[in-house]
Every structure is written in C-alpha cells, then in structure tokens.
C-alpha cells in the first residue's frame, strides 16, 4: 500500500495551522503539511507555499483539501508540475480533512477513505 499524506490549503495562515492542530489530536503519525495565506502571510494562496507543502510531505499519494475556490486553482497548477499522485477533494474543508487523517491513522486504505469523503462533497 502506498503511503498516504494530507495537504491542507487555506487562504488564512491561522486557519491552515488551526486545522492541522485539530487533525493532530487524532492523527499523531500521519504525514500532514499545509499552506496558509500568501508569501507575505496575507489572505490568499501562494503557489510556492503549496508546492513546498507537496514536496515536504512524506506521503507518496497526497490527499489535498482547500477552503475557497481560488485555492483550488493554485492547487491544480502545482498538481500539473508535481511527480506525486494527488487526489483533490471538493469537500467540506474541515470535516473532510479531519475524516481523512483519522482514517489514515486507523490504517484505512484510499478506497475506504474516499467512500467516507463522498457525502462531504459540497462544491
């Protein structure tokens, strides 16, 4: 089974860090990296920060979650360049990233995780 990792992308540095804090409580051993805000830590998203979050993540297959629509555009730009296998979910940001890491920590495989994520699709 390939090692799964999670990347979360938020427009706000504190939201990204906060979601990771929430996830860490149930997923001590999961590869989690994040990108929050712009290069200047203003509200927005940064292509370079997202790229770094992918590169630094120890997962071979990355499950990616984002807050607002424009984060998705930057995520997709990075996905076109990265070597890693990336799965991008249009799901409720906090619920779905939390669900994914809890299941990875519990040893679930990708198919089982995606089954749980499906009803969380909102966009």
């Amino acid at each position: 089974m390939t090692k799964l990792g999670v990347v979360v992308v938020s427009h706000v540095p504190e939201i990204a860090a906060g979601v990771v804090k929430l996830m860490r409580e149930v997923a001590k051993d999961v590869a989690i990296t994040f990108s929050g805000g712009t290069d200047e830590n203003e509200i927005g998203t940064s292509f370079e920060k997202i790229q770094a979050a992918f590169e630094e993540n120890e997962g071979e297959t990355i499950l990616a979650f984002y807050d607002l629509g424009s984060a998705k555009m930057n995520l997709e730009m990075v996905m076109e360049l990265t070597e890693k296998e990336v799965r991008l979910y249009d799901t409720a940001f906090i619920e779905s990233s939390y669900t994914a890491v809890a299941l990875i920590q519990a040893g679930a495989d990708l198919a089982a995780i995606e089954e749980q994520l499906a009803p969380l699709k909102i966009k």
């Binding site: 509200i43 927005g44 998203t45 607002l68 424009s70 555009m73 730009m77």
Partner: protein
C-alpha cells in the same frame, strides 16, 4: 509579432494597473475581498523586474516569463488565471504569429483553470468579446469599454463575488476591468493581428 511591441505592451499594462490600483481594489471591495488592485500591481511590478533582469528575446519567452511571474507573485485567483492565460499564450506564440490564435489560447487557458464560461461575471466577459471583435476585424477601444461595462449587469456565478448572488448585480467585475486595461494597452502598444 514584434517582440519590442509586446514588451511595450507589458510596460503599459503595468503602468495602467499601478495607476488604477486603488480603483481596482475599490471595485473588488464591493463584491469581493478588496485586493484585486494590490494583487495585480504586485504581480505586474514583479513582471517588469523579471523582464528587465532576463530580457527575453522572443515573444513566447516574454509571455512565459510574464505568466510564471504572475502565478508566483499575485496571491489571489487572478494569479493562476492570468498566469495560465500567459503560459498558454507563450505555447501558442511558439508555433504561430497570429494575435487572434494567441489570445484565443489565452482565453482557453483561463477557462480551463477557472472552469467558467462567458456570462458568469469574470474576466472572461472581457476576453471573449475582444477576441470576437478581433476575429471580425473591428476591435476598438469602444468594444473593450462595452464589454467591461456589461459585467455590471450580470450576476456572478464564479469567484468570490458568486457568494453574493443577486447582490453582485450593479457592480463592475474587477477582473474584467483589469483585463480591459490589458487590451487597451495592447492597442496602444501597436500589437495587432498582422
């Protein structure tokens, strides 16, 4: 297509964006988060610095450097959108000299990136009528002004303004306005379909 004219185009666009930075942000404040002027000013200013430092020799290289710089420096939706436009234009410019084909490739890049179509109150509502007029041989400043003004009447269904629903009607789309500057300065710089 003349590389000097294209460089002049990028310079004039940067100047226009910077002169109207506050206005673009004010438009974005009404239906978005108020950063479009800042985003575009930061991005285009970085483009100027990159063009000066690297002095690209071909039209394709000018567009490519512009696109890559916008992607990494803008920080809002307009970064990946304008970035994708210029990167697609660079690819097209590598095989053709036709301004029409190049701009069409740019529009395709925006549509692919943002999954929007004409009529959703985005920059596409400037690009699409401009390209149509260019194809018909009657692109003018008036075409551009009319396209931009029309975004006031439509409801946003893509981007941040879409969260406002009906309340987005009655406001110009900031990205459509900045794209208006792009095409006005294209005419000023003498970049034409010849």
């Amino acid at each position: 297509m003349n590389v000097e004219a294209v460089k002049k185009w990028m310079i004039l666009f940067t100047e226009k964006v910077n002169q109207n930075k506050a206005y673009l942000s004010e438009l974005d404040r009404a239906i978005g988060d108020g950063d479009h002027g800042m985003n575009m000013a930061r991005g285009t200013t970085e483009v100027m610095a990159a063009l000066e430092a690297k002095n690209p020799a071909t039209v394709a290289d000018v567009f490519k450097l512009t696109g890559m710089t916008l992607v990494s420096k803008v920080g809002g939706a307009s970064g990946p959108l304008y970035g994708s436009a210029f990167i697609s234009m660079a690819k097209e410019a590598g095989t053709t000299d036709s301004l029409l084909a190049i701009l069409q490739a740019g529009l395709n890049g925006i549509e692919k990136r943002g999954q929007a179509v004409p009529g959703e109150k985005t920059m596409i509502d400037t690009w699409q009528p401009v390209i149509k007029a260019l194809a018909a041989g009657n692109l003018s400043e008036q075409t551009i002004a009319d396209a931009v003004a029309h975004t006031k009447e439509i409801k946003a269904t893509k981007g941040r303004a879409s969260y406002l629903g009906e309340r987005s009607i009655g406001h110009l789309d900031p990205g459509a306005v900045s794209s208006g500057y792009l095409f006005e300065t294209m005419l000023e710089a003498g970049v034409t379909n010849d």
